[in-house]
């Protein structure tokens, strides 16, 4: 029994460096800025209640309230703003700028914890107010920002560490939060891959064809795609198997690089071929932060950084092998 508890603790609370947290913070900061910029011209069109909106946040927020009145939404901010005499348009502009500032602060690591909380709150508020207009990218940004704000910030590469908080973090806590992110990614890919394996279209390649010609993902000319039709069954099977086997092969020292490159390559291809750049970026950020810091070339790169910033990145599972 005692040995089981020791093994469990060694797995769930490994002593980790903070390299993964730096990657997560910078990556999600960039993602937050790009997210805000991508919606700049439609921000009011999505969230205002001025009669010029696409569908407005009213229905989404009302439905959300039936589930829980405590989930953040932009309606809270506009209600407060209107109460103190600001127009809805100004409140929405302030919210957009705050999102950009929070994302930028995350990139440089300034007020890291407060920035992570602000980015999580504002993004979640926007995603929930948009309701029917949100899709996968919002889900994964919420997951990433939720873990980021709970992780032991600031990390060694942040401005905070050198300017405001020179103390080191609890390395077991760093290991715990990294493990949470790793396990969550394993579940995401396992269940995503399992559902794909249960569909006939991933085995004969027809799903890949349909995904690539389906509006609004039809970035590539179908005439070009037809020339590559023999690759679709192979690519479909590779995608389904890569995802469903992710939790089994991502931990091993010898297979990690292959699976990580495969998954990141898949997301990059989805981003380019289907125009889902933000979705691709957030998935690559989460994967790289969770599993890349143990790869040899990343270790080599980190060892070239100035001393004091380079926390040890030994991974207990990799070391055990």
């Amino acid at each position: 029994m005692r040995s089981w508890i020791t093994q469990r603790d060694a797995f769930l609370f490994p002593r980790e460096g903070d390299g993964w947290l730096s990657l997560l913070r910078v990556g999600l900061g960039i993602q937050t800025v790009f997210y805000a910029i991508s919606l700049r011209h439609d921000w009011e069109y999505l969230f205002a209640r001025n009669g010029h909106e696409l569908v407005g946040p009213d229905v989404a927020e009302a439905l959300l309230s039936t589930q829980s009145p405590l989930v953040p939404r932009l309606g809270w901010l506009t209600a407060v703003g209107i109460r103190i005499g600001l127009s809805e348009s100004i409140v929405l502009s302030i919210a957009w700028w705050l999102l950009v500032i929070a994302g930028t602060a995350l990139v440089i690591g300034l007020f890291s914890r407060a920035s992570a909380i602000a980015a999580w709150f504002l993004h979640l508020g926007a995603a929930k107010s948009a309701g029917f207009l949100s899709y996968g990218v919002d889900n994964f940004m919420t997951i990433g920002l939720f873990y980021l704000m709970l992780s032991p910030l600031p990390d060694g590469l942040s401005v905070d560490r050198h300017w405001r908080e020179p103390r080191r973090q609890n390395r077991q806590l760093l290991g715990f939060w990294r493990r949470v992110l790793e396990l969550h990614l394993c579940l995401i890919y396992f269940f995503g891959g399992l559902a794909k394996c249960l569909g006939s279209g991933w085995w004969d390649g027809s799903n890949l064809w349909r995904a690539l010609i389906r509006p609004p993902f039809n970035v590539l000319d179908p005439e070009i795609l037809v020339r590559w039709k023999y690759l679709f069954p192979v690519a479909g099977i590779i995608i389904a198997l890569l995802e469903v086997s992710y939790p089994f092969f991502i931990w091993g020292r010898s297979t990690r690089k292959i699976w990580l490159l495969g998954i990141c390559g898949m997301h990059a291809a989805i981003g380019l071929a289907m125009g889902m750049y933000l979705f691709a970026l957030v998935m690559i950020v989460l994967n790289v932060a969770a599993f890349a810091p143990d790869l040899d070339f990343v270790k080599d790169w980190r060892q070239r950084l100035p001393k004091g910033r380079n926390a040890a990145l030994r991974h207990p599972l990799s070391a055990a092998r």
Partner: protein, 203 residues
């Protein structure tokens, strides 16, 4: 390390919720015979579905504090839905078009407009949800909201018909033989200029 048990308890609960929701999604697919599995698996999946419903407190009343707390947590952690994107198969997409009728007898066809590709992806998500929702009233309300923008962009139009339907995608072989997308009409909504004026006055 302090509070280790607290972290462990949170971890167990957090991943239990994720696994329950994800398993529930897979079971739903199997129960509705949307997978490769033989139909007898559907029977077992239907038997197992209530376990997920109970585990997530969905049998409790909507005002029950436990249910509300769990739903709040799922939303703020981003774990309220599963991960079966484009699975088990890529569905057909939905399209909303507006046919505008002018006093001089002319007609014009237009689509909901957005300013960027990023919002175009979100609009597709909205149309998918409108197509799948069982609530006809909500679908009509949201189509009406989108129609208001079309009125503004086309102030001379007298009447408008919104056509909501499914876009059937061709297979590779069908495409090679010259077949394109097929629009299958599902719902139609007729609006007149007076309806729009009344709706704006209601605001």
């Amino acid at each position: 390390m302090r509070h280790k048990r607290l972290y462990l308890a949170w971890l167990a609960l957090h991943f239990l919720v994720i696994v329950t929701i994800s398993c529930g999604d897979v079971l739903w697919l199997v129960a509705h015979r949307l997978t490769l599995l033989p139909s007898r698996f559907g029977y077992f999946a239907r038997k197992a579905e209530p376990i997920k419903v109970r585990a997530l407190g969905q049998t409790l009343t909507s005002s029950n504090p436990v249910r509300r707390a769990l739903l709040t947590y799922c939303h703020i952690a981003g774990i309220e839905r599963g991960y079966g994107y484009f699975a088990p198969n890529v569905p057909d997409s939905f399209r909303l078009g507006f046919e505008l009728y002018y006093p001089d007898g002319q007609t014009e066809y237009t689509l909901p407009s957005v300013n960027s590709r990023a919002v175009g992806l979100r609009l597709a998500s909205l149309l998918d949800q409108l197509g799948r929702t069982p609530h006809a009233g909500m679908r009509e309300y949201l189509v009406k909201k989108m129609a208001q923008n079309v009125w503004r962009e086309h102030p001379d139009a007298l009447r408008m018909r919104a056509a909501f339907g499914i876009v059937n995608l061709p297979s590779i072989d069908e495409f090679r033989h010259g077949k394109g997308e097929d629009f299958e009409f599902l719902y139609g909504y007729d609006f007149s200029r007076s309806d729009a004026a009344a709706a704006l006055q209601d605001r």
